[in-house]
Amino acid sequence: MFQYYLKLAWTSIRKTSVLSLLMVLIIAVGIAASMVTYTINYMMTQHPIPNKHNTVQLIHLSSWGSEQPYRELDGKEDAPSMMTYQDAKNLFSAHKTSPLIKYQSIIGTYRDQIRAIHQPITDARLRSMLTVNHDFFPMFDVPFLFGTAWSKQADEKGELVAVISSELNEQLFNSENSVGKQIMMGNLILTISGVTDNWLPTPKFYYVRTESFVNPRNIMIPFKSQIQHGLFAKSDTRYYCVNYPTDQSFSTFLASNCVWLHFWIELNSATDLPQYNNFLNNYDAQQKQAGRFERDLASYTLNIEDYLTRERMIPEDTKLAVWLAFSFLVVCLLNCMSLMLNKFYNKRAEVGLRRAVGASRQNIAYQFGCETLLISIIGGFIGLLLTKLGLLAAQNVLTFLPQQVMEMNLPLAIMALILAIVSCSIFSLWPIYKATKVQPSSQLKSM
């Protein structure tokens, strides 16, 4: 029976080819517009490490001066999202071995001339890097192509080791296994302990807002080695100070109240958070008593999602585009609905005849339902194709976004098809209902 209706639908579509083609195209365009924007928005607002939603936290210490708040947004005062070297050192050593903390890492930055040891000095390029702890890698689930993170020992001794990205590995070592090989950083020799495997979280939540959607820093070295070797690139480091030091030296900077380090922790379980907060509050109180923390604001922790929201790391414009695109889809569907009314009206004679020879209203509804279904499925598939094209075009236009947010995965493709079928079916209810209302007798006369 279904096959028969499908055949009927196909005949009808071929008979009204222009109208049907128009319907298919309108559905396809509407689906494509909404799916392109939805895909980008969905990919951008994905949680970078969903399984660590509540356990990974960024510490905000209320270390700012009394004169004015560090930042005020929407009438709410924020503590700095970065901290001073003193505080980072204190917090880190307090939980070096602790049942509470699974991982903890400081994040700083540095920039220097980098080349592979076999390259001539003229090939050296200025590159920015992160200075982190061993725990950075397991905490953020960084995948490795070759080797691993450096050891905890390397962390403590401040050894000259490095983890580089697969992209840099391609440039320096032609994508060969470079573990154990050496690179020159200025006048220092770094030994590579691991190569990350295409690690591009979107957004790059772990550092500052301005770097959340740009190319990642391709090298990671131990934080301790930055301190030991006095590696300081002022123009590459984002820092804010209550009083800016007049002396340019690194030691003065380290002793100052300038905030420049991110401090991430991962708790063993989310239920440990109150306990860690207790520790943090105690530390906060101690520092307030010592006169280091001058503001009344308490210190606190934020999980990744809250941090992204507070720092406004997700561009608002894409949300707006989704809103626009879905309204556009509604217009397309309304349009389709009027085309259907048109189409079914033209068929009233056929309906009358079928009714007269015994077809029930359900039969008529079934027949037109099949036709709509067929059109929406074809529209959905063409829409999917257009979405692919649209995303390709978006990659050229939205150059400030990483490529991978503009790729469609299977669930999204299925969603697009379901969206096409369901929305089209809903909007076809009324035209079908109207078609079934045709009186057998009224149409027979004009045959």
Binding site: L22, I26, V29, G30, A33, T37, E67, Q68, R111, Q113, L126, T210, A233, K234, S235, Y244, P245, T246, D247, Q248, S249, P315, E316, D317, K319, L320, A321, W323, L324, A325, S327, F328, V330, V331, C332, L334, N335, M337, S338, L339, L341, N342, Y345, N346, V397, L398, T399, F400, W430, K434, K445, S446
Partner: protein, 401 residues
């Protein structure tokens, strides 16, 4: 007027199609107005004049090696060497580069004390050569003298001379911006003197709401990694870039970073907006096509279903122009109703958009203009079916049915 009441009656009879059309016009209008409004704003931001010689300027950061206490002299030696190049018009050290998204901002006020702050403004430190290097036009007062330039070593210099942008002067004295000249401006608490007003000083963050408000202080930043801006002679920018790079890299262990033209900085800082503008153009044009199609289909449907009625009208003496008038009036009525609903919907969604996306209120003129466009669009889209309606032969009545 008689045909108007007829139209209303007939529209009531065909509620679904009427409502469908009105709804479609209303939603289209809502999207259209909001999208156009955002588009025009973004485009305006992109096209805003920079006020400087954008095409001939480039900038970079470099490392000045050597002892800390002598760093300013060595910066000046390097900058002077750049100035001596044939292709270079002028060069100067700055604390930040326009459109580079990295810069400084301060709070300002006309009265001392942090409670009397009037807002935030961008902050440049400029040497004596600053105005000439950027190509800034002063519209009142004068530029700094070489002796005015102080040294900024992270302790706020007090009592320096500053040049401010006209936008900032207007913010200080809304009635007459010229009054700002010679006044004391408290910049983060330091009493500075306004000696000049520039037409435009481009800021560092184009998306910042205080982008237009800028202060240039007569001071050079003591930094071993200075930002240097170079203005080449007309048309030889790329050659000048090569020469500057060659000159600087003669020193061992010297690096040059962020070596970019001002045009590139500007384009990059606008990529976000440019992308949105592209998307909005697509949305608007697709929307217009789809809606025009929809109106066309629906009006055609309305006419086809009433062929016989038209025939009867014609048979009873209505002329072709009567029919034409009738259906054009009907379409206009529908479009007007749609436009009214759309206008209301626009206002409602705009309120939501303002809260959700921090947009500003759509001016009434946009709504009026959008409504007119919709009515016109519906007339154009329905021209063909209406013409066909007027050609319906009276004889159709006599045929069967």
């Amino acid at each position: 007027m008689k045909s108007f009441s007829l139209i209303i009656k007939s529209l009531f009879k065909r509620k679904t199609t009427t409502l469908l059309l009105i709804l479609q016009i209303a939603i289209t209008l809502t999207i259209l107005i909001n999208a156009t409004f955002i588009l025009i704003q973004k485009q305006g931001k992109i096209d805003k004049p920079s006020g400087v010689d954008t095409h001939n300027i480039f900038s970079f950061t470099t490392n000045i090696q050597g002892p800390d206490n002598d760093v300013l002299n060595r910066i000046e030696q390097n900058v002077q060497a750049i100035r001596d190049l044939d292709t270079v018009y002028n060069a100067s050290q700055f604390n930040a580069v326009p459109y580079s998204e990295i810069g400084a901002h301060v709070s300002y006020g006309l009265v001392e004390g942090s409670d009397n702050s009037m807002g935030s403004a961008g902050y440049y430190l400029s040497s004596y050569h600053g105005a000439d290097t950027l190509g800034i036009t002063l519209i009142a007062g004068e530029w700094f003298k070489p002796t005015d330039i102080t040294i900024y070593d992270n302790t706020d210099p007090t009592g320096v001379k500053v040049v401010i942008s006209k936008a900032l002067a207007t913010a200080l004295f809304p009635d007459d911006w010229r009054q700002a000249l010679g006044k004391t401006l408290y910049v983060d608490g330091s009493p500075d003197t306004i000696v000049g007003i520039a037409d435009i000083i481009p800021g560092t963050w184009p998306s910042w709401r205080n982008f237009d408000k800028h202060i240039m202080a007569a001071s050079t930043l003591k930094s071993a990694e200075p930002n240097i801006i170079v203005r080449a002679h007309d048309g030889v920018r790329d050659k000048a870039m090569e020469e500057v790079s060659k000159l600087l890299l003669q020193t061992p262990n010297r690096w040059i970073d962020k070596f970019k033209t001002l045009q590139a900085h500007r384009t990059k800082s606008h990529t976000n907006d440019t992308a949105i503008v592209h998307i909005l153009y697509c949305v608007i044009s697709l929307l217009i096509i789809v809606t025009a199609l929809g109106i066309f289909a629906q009006v055609r449907f309305g006419i086809v279903t009433r062929h016989k009625q038209i025939g009867t009208q014609r048979a009873l003496g209505a002329s072709k122009s009567h029919i034409l008038q009738y259906y054009m009036l009907e379409t206009s009525t529908l479009a007007t109703l749609g436009a009214i609903f759309g206008g209301l919907l626009t206002i409602v969604t705009n309120i939501y958009l303002i809260e959700e996306f921090k947009l500003i209120v759509v001016p009434m003129s946009y709504i009026a203009f959008g409504a007119c466009t919709m009515i016109l669009l519906s007339q154009i889209a329905t021209l063909h079916p209406i013409l066909q309606a007027s050609r319906v032969s009276p004889a159709i009545v006599t045929r069967g049915g």
